[in-house]
Subunit: 439 residues, 2 copies
């Protein structure tokens, strides 16, 4: 993308309405614009990050054997009356009446609808287990939306739903999803910690929320160093496979045996029992939440399958959410400095920015075009006729993992300056060497 | 995907509520399920097709230089009051009041919102032209939703918006999008015909709709054979490039000089002037609509930029829609037979189906697993313990471009039967040869 014609409206000033770092940086770097309170339009740079995060979430759901579907945003009220949640949900539910005076709503979550799809289609225990997920926009009519995409009203969520014949199967699905989550966050360059949680309006017996570490996070967290050390992506010895029950058990034990709590649930006595050199404190942000709730929906909605003995059984369910749009903000809270965003490679909108310090200079233009073509669309080319200082500042603000700086002296000598955003390290290399290092 | 555990609920009976071919086949093949009148959930098989169509639309928008953004589904009423369309739009607009009694709506289209984003960010003619697009769910509260995803209430649309300094620029953007559309439809295996159209609630001076040919289409169409002959994807001599004004002019002339009309606008006198051997008749379905409307929105919403002489100018706009979810139905209307769907390769949910005629037989299982692994997820493996007839029927119904049939005799002899769905042609080949032919 050529910056001179890109729809990336950066701001010089920090917008007054933005109270937290990620909100300020997302507005300043031109990632999003607010269109109503708590509702945002994603501009090209922000959308590329959102799609990268969505892709990682999807791949890890697929790896765990979940099947992707897509449920609509608008749901009929009747389904929620069946489960008994229609009245419970209160004013956060956006209620709608259509032209025929039918009560509808903008889905805040999909337990009812997925249970309805399941009961229409699945008839036998032989078809279980099933994990269905979708990545769809949701709406929660927050009384006071704020913090940008971190607590928006219209937000993108991945929600998965598991169906198992019995409790043991449901626990397996729960652990499988927990592992998928830890892998998902690690791939985004985040340190995540699962913590026992309340079940709230979803209900159920067992629940964990996932907190990622971020210096500017919303809550104080206390945790055992173990969570910083485990490699969830390793396939080798000590690694975890989704398909091996013994791996899942060992994994779950590790996740639940080490101390981890936010301020709210912090237990000083238990904390003292953690070895002093293993105690870690920091700030964190919730980015996911998983629930096991058995037959809470399958019973009232009468979703039943034939069990091995031919008798009808209500399957045991769990649900598993990740805040996909929230993660864009959370990644920024976890990775930024005074100059702007520092994107982890896996979610960056572009692999690199190419900074042409002298557009119009034949050597600079030629070299930049050659580099730009080599990236096949995966670089942002700053071809604007601005001064160098503005280009450096914008590249730092937007947070591209690499910057390739092309000036007239270097272009004549056949070199460029390669800067790594995360470390600030700069080296003078040939264009080929720069491409090779970026990979 | 293994069919034994896939969420693909096929139906033996034709659902009574489905009046048209694509609706019947989409329900029978387990692509979608209705969740409310005119609102559908996309199940794994249907979602894969939807995503393929979306990908082709996206790539051709990108190729034409359009930039992808993502606007929210929920819009503030104020924007529509600025343009004057809030009252005009009538009952098709789904109107919503949030918890603070603010008037909102579920966007049926985005002219107002994109004009608002533009006026906040673009200040100079130097940043023009700009074409912004998004692929987002829309809602139109149809009085009588029917025909499945062909006329649903919640539907996925690609809508693009062009901003140019003057009329000449706007015409160029219009032609560029028209070319992108013809390329898009050709890549989906569809024959598309652009036809002059009324502008309706979008407004403006110039408009074309895009009709694709389908034997079970909704309207009768009359057209010159030229539209069946032109290759929009050819880059060679006689081909068209988005970037060459002379190509765009030649392209537009070809699109508008040949006769094409639906029943409604059919002109018998002009039709008679078409050479008899060039006259074609058929059935068609509208899948896209483009509009040029100048300053219809930029003026009342006061979107203005500095022109070359420093004076403020209202940019000239156009808008360009493709019905992405509707296309899933339209492709089926264009490509099916009595046995089911016949997916064009480019949009098929899977490249091939692998039919194991004797699960449990070591040779069959081994060969099927080997073939399945070779597709890396891009095949549907029918590993069910059903009889062969049911497997053949389901594979035909689901419409996979290729079927690889693995039976015990062949597996012992090292051969499979390869069937091409479109032609019905079957050949006995080695597994390697089957993979090579599928490509």
């Amino acid at each position: 993308m050529r910056l001179s014609h890109a729809f990336i409206p950066t701001l010089k000033e920090t917008p007054a309405e933005a109270q937290i770092t990620s909100h300020r940086l997302m507005l300043r770097a031109g990632l999003v614009r607010q269109t109503s309170a708590g509702i945002y339009a994603w501009l090209p740079l922000g959308l590329r990050v959102l799609r990268n995060i969505e892709r990682i979430v999807r791949e890890e759901q697929d790896n765990a054997g979940a099947q992707e579907i897509l449920m609509p945003t608008i749901q009929p009220a009747e389904l929620w009356k069946e489960s008994g949640r229609y009245e419970d949900y209160g004013k956060e539910m956006l209620r709608i009446r259509d032209r025929h005076e039918r009560d509808m709503l903008y889905g805040p979550t999909n337990e009812e609808m997925v249970t309805d799809l399941f009961r229409q289609s699945v008839k036998s225990y032989r078809e279980l287990p099933q994990i269905l997920y979708h990545i769809q926009w949701k709406f929660r009519d927050e009384v006071r939306p704020r913090f940008g995409v971190m607590r928006g009203r219209e937000f993108l969520m991945k929600d998965a739903y598991s169906f198992d014949l019995d409790h043991a199967g449901a626990v397996m699905s729960y652990r499988k999803m927990m592992l998928a989550y830890m892998r998902t966050f690690q791939r985004m360059g985040l340190k995540a910690i699962p913590m026992e949680a309340d079940t709230g309006p979803i209900g159920g017996d067992l629940s964990h929320e996932f907190i990622i570490l971020a210096p500017t996070g919303e809550s104080q967290v206390y945790y055992d160093a173990a969570f910083e050390e485990i490699d969830y992506l390793s396939g080798g010895a000590g690694g975890f496979s989704h398909d091996k029950p013994e791996d899942l058990e060992r994994f779950f034990k590790q996740m639940t045996s080490h101390y981890a709590a936010t301020d709210e649930k912090h237990d000083a006595a238990r904390w003292d029992s953690v070895a002093a050199d293993r105690r870690r404190e920091g700030r964190g942000i919730e980015v996911g939440h998983i629930f096991y709730f058995g037959t809470k929906y399958t019973k009232p909605m009468n979703a039943a399958i034939a069990g091995p003995d031919g008798k009808l059984v209500h399957p045991e369910m769990g649900s598993y959410g990740i805040g996909v749009s929230r993660l864009v903000g959370a990644v920024i809270e976890a990775s930024h400095d005074d100059n702007g965003i520092i994107w982890p490679d896996s979610v960056a909108p572009f692999k690199a920015a190419i900074l042409n310090l002298k557009p119009g200079d034949a050597a600079c233009d030629g070299l930049c075009e050659r580099l730009y073509a080599a990236f096949g669309g995966n670089a942002l080319y700053d071809d604007r006729s601005d001064r160098a200082g503005a280009k450096f500042a914008d590249a730092d603000l937007m947070g591209h993992p690499w910057q390739i700086v092309v000036g007239p002296r270097g272009a004549a000598a056949g070199t460029v300056e390669l800067k790594r955003r995360a470390t600030g390290e700069r080296v003078e290399v040939t264009p080929e060497e720069a491409l090779a290092r970026i990979g």
